[in-house]
């Protein structure tokens, strides 16, 4: 299955974006987000970017006030996911220009579009920034 979910959470623990690739009920999501956010936010910079949680792993990366948390299967290549997070951030950077928490918050729909171009069904579908951004740009043109 690969990627199970992608969360963007600020350092106060508020969810800014949540995309799940397996169905969880709202209660399950709330509980899960609470637990892993607590676990990851408590870690410091000297610690590794991987947290084992239940029967999967969280690969996470922090950018300023925002944490990107990706839940993956235990046998997933952790570093590849870690750099995939960076690719996502660079892609958003290319679109928004120095992306920040507010961009994602107020342009939730665009963040979702980009993510949808990059991940599908828990698998990476595209890694070329130009290809990822084409449909987003198309949308801007048509609306």
């Amino acid at each position: 299955m690969g990627i199970r979910f992608i969360l963007m959470v600020n350092k106060q623990g508020q969810t800014r974006l949540a995309q799940y690739y397996e169905w969880l009920t709202l209660e399950e999501r709330r509980a899960l987000e609470g637990e892993i956010v607590r676990k990851c936010l408590a870690r410091n910079e000297q610690q590794c970017s991987f947290v084992e949680h239940r029967n999967y792993k969280i690969v996470y990366r922090r950018y300023a006030s925002l944490f990107f948390l990706v839940g993956v299967d235990n046998d997933e290549n952790e570093l590849a996911i870690l750099e995939f997070i960076h690719l996502l951030v660079e892609t958003m950077d290319r679109h928004f220009g120095n992306v920040c928490e507010l961009d994602i918050m107020f342009h939730l729909e665009k963040a979702h579009f980009m993510l949808e171009e990059m991940v599908m069904n828990g698998c990476i579908v595209e890694t070329s920034k130009a290809n990822i951004l084409t449909p987003v740009q198309l949308l801007e043109k048509t609306s």
Partner: protein, 1022 residues
Amino acid sequence: MAMHGMRGLSIFISDIRNCQNKEQERLRVDKELGNIRNRFKKEKGLTPYDKKKYVWKMLYIYMLGYDVDFGHMEAVSLISAPKYPEKQVGYIVTSCLLNENHDFLRLAINTVRNDIIGQNETFQCLALTLVGNIGGREFAESLAPDVQKLLLSSSCRPLVRKKAALCLLRLFRKNPDVVNVDGWADRMTQLLDERDLGVLTSSMSLLVALVSNNHEAYWTCLPKCVKILERLARNQDVPQEYTYYGIPSPWLQVKTMRALQYFPTIEDPNTRRTLFEVLQWILMGTDVVKNVNKNNASHAVLFEALALVMHLDAEKEMMSQCVALLGKFIAVREPNIRYLGLENMTRMLIVADVQESIKRHQAQIITSLKDPDISICRRALDLLYGMCDITNAKDIVEELLQYLNSADFTMLEELSLKAAILAEKFAPDLSWYVDVILQLIEKAGDFISDDIWFHVVQFVTNNDDLQPYAAAKAKEYLDKPAVDEKMVKVCAYILGEYSHLLARRPGCSPKEIFSIIHEKLPSVSTTTIPLLLSAYAKILMHTQPPDQVLQNQIWTIFTKELRYESCIDAEIQQRAVEYFALSRKGAAVMDILGEMPKFPERQSSLIKKAEDAEADTAEQSALKLRAQQQPSNALVVTDQHPSNGEPLPVFVGQLSVVKAPNMNNTEDHSSTEQVLSQENGNLSQVDQQPPSADPLSDLLGPLAIEGPPGATVQYENSAVSGLESGPDVVDGSAIVPVEVGTNTIQPIGNIAVRFHALCLKDSGVLYEDPYIQIGIKAEWRAHQGRLVLFLGNKNTSPLVSVQALILPPAHLKMELSLVPDTIPPRAQVQCPLEVVNLRPSRDVAVLDFSYKFGTHMVNIKLRLPAVLNKFLQPLPVSAEEFFPQWRSLSGPPLKLQEVVRGVRPMALPEMANLLHSYRIAISPGLDPNPNNLVASTTFYSENTRAIVCLVRIETDPADRTQLRMTLASGDPTLTFELKEFIKEQLVSIPTVAQAPTPAPPAAPPTPQIPPNDPAALLTDLL
């Protein structure tokens, strides 16, 4: 805001952002939901733009964690909007809000299909993505051919085909039959010739799914994968857009090597040689570079290459190259690389021939074990566990033991279990094994499961040479001042069995051993006391010739001193009574109390458990702790065994329904012994019985030979019913309703039992749960009492909003000193409580206690043991004193008589003891009829002052369930209240009905234990 017009959405998001607290946020969200619902209701005039805006708001609200239970239809309906912006919103929001089983999704299936087979490729992409993310079986059956066509179409652009590939992957997972193996192997092979790396990336994910299901069918894909890998690794013809920090798509490289790991071997020598050359290139060519992203990306590829090399059973030289690389990684400071080095080294352990070279890194791994990062320690622990063998077990286990002192508490359970297993598996000598386990119990008693100590007991039992050593060690540990309760259990057990082997050593006389054990009795819980009683009985039997002083001392414990004969705990009581009876028979019953026979040898036990549970040991332990420490908001049904036998739902932070059989804190010692003795092969003597109903009957199995057949069943029934009805009846006698509020936490031990025990003694635990322990110590003088409440915080974080309120009944004046609002971590505060008894009454004072832990408010109402009998003083009287008073108090209301029925049958001495335990003194010999009891006591209250009460109980030897009771005192209220009080005690206390000779008939050896029973679980293990 610079959004294309969705101003309302921006305003809403800013409003939410400006909310000061969760409550404000909720209000704003509710308002918005109301607004959206209204707008949706009058659909007329709702433009596609409006719909789009509202649907985004819904998604935003849903993301914040609020339920959005309407508007799904509107989201789905946007899918059929003609314009791209609306359609896109419809597709994206639908795939976030709905799951594959949602009915509305079926409604959209036609629109989705039309978009997929239509001419508009952006629509095709949207539709394929939706199906790829949430398509179910129904989609699989109706859409698979169309999706396959798109994937293979030469006229379709890559942007559609890459989505078709992952869409097909989803459909294949929903129904593997949609991909016909015969046709698809060739097509898949062709697909891998694709030049577009986007299509190739998705197709590779599809291939991984297909080969993991059936690698034989896709063997023609293997050379293609090697080609792709070669192209990428050597950076041939890779477009700039797919190069990440100079590395040609690391994700595709990783995925390709993953696909290759699903083929068991590579037979074609050319392909094999090419692949090894590429792998060698990766292994040698990956350098550490300054740029973090580049470094991570190249190491992502390197670690995948290592995994592939391991899988391919490479030549020895290449393997040692891998070990050398990993050895380098586990020594770096960079935590990610170190973590992955440890993880991959653990995987490497399965490769033959490299274990020795891994062992050379032991010291380095131990450094990581002590890393403050729990992720890293966990990897190090796993690796140490995996690499341990007979040559290094001593070093590794000792490191683990040492690490126990400083380890993160979430690690303790896993750590101690692993240490225990390694000690057992690779012990160079058995005494070392015993040392390790005892150290484990000492250092992490709370975190080790019972099986660990059961196991050491088995080992000692089965190894004669070990017994004196174990006994000496047990004595040593028990001699220490503060001993963990589990330690008391195991030491008491071992000393009970084997301390006689030490008899000639200094300080090890039976009397000394006994007093060492007995010293611990006041501090242990009721579940441990039975083990201590067994030890006493065994020590007594081993003391030959009998030591009169010791015998009297122990008999006093069994009968009077600690009043176990009338103890509220049926288990303790039963043992006390039975051991007393048995030990009085002297040498005749030596065999029964002799050493336990050997356990049947079986293959590894704990080990199996650990291996079964390997995957989630850590998680389970974390779960367990979380359940104890910070109940959160998801409901979980757990398999609890609280002492009242009723499974209760417990709240813990957990996603799904889990079973956590070990979560109960009231360890069931009885099943312990049951198992021990069943394991011992006594089964043929043991009657089939409900677990924990009567562990003693099989403990004392051989006795059956003497007993009348058929008695056991009745005997057990009475014990069971005693256990069950006991607390209820006790509760019934309370005038104030007592309950454990609406709490979601689990009290440890039975509150009613604890209360009842405290009615009889003056200090002990009133209440305990995972967070707090409330103890009581009381002193009574005439009509006054001084209680001290000990409020102990068991946790490492403070308990806040602590409140204690006394609800005194009318007859008690009670004053509680100030209770602090916060109890610091691991601290105990004492709160004195003054009590003055104004007049006789059976009403009970209640302590209304609440505290907050985390977000959880806990409120408990507890009866306080400031009960009538506390204001009594036993007063033995002579015949000269008794009769004149008895005669002067004639008739009601000063003298009351009642025939009491439904009395728990008990022998006269037992009843005497019971009265004595309530501070009513028996005056033996005053009544000429041996079936009657005469007793007296002095009652104190402010109104009545000291006042004498006289009691006469006439029993019927033919029917022990009824008796006639006469009470007399100078105060009518007192007479009535005391009569009722005694009556309650006579009818409510669970006692043993029959003489203590459990007599199982010659039962067939059928150890049928319910499968979920912990004992059964253990039997499997042992």
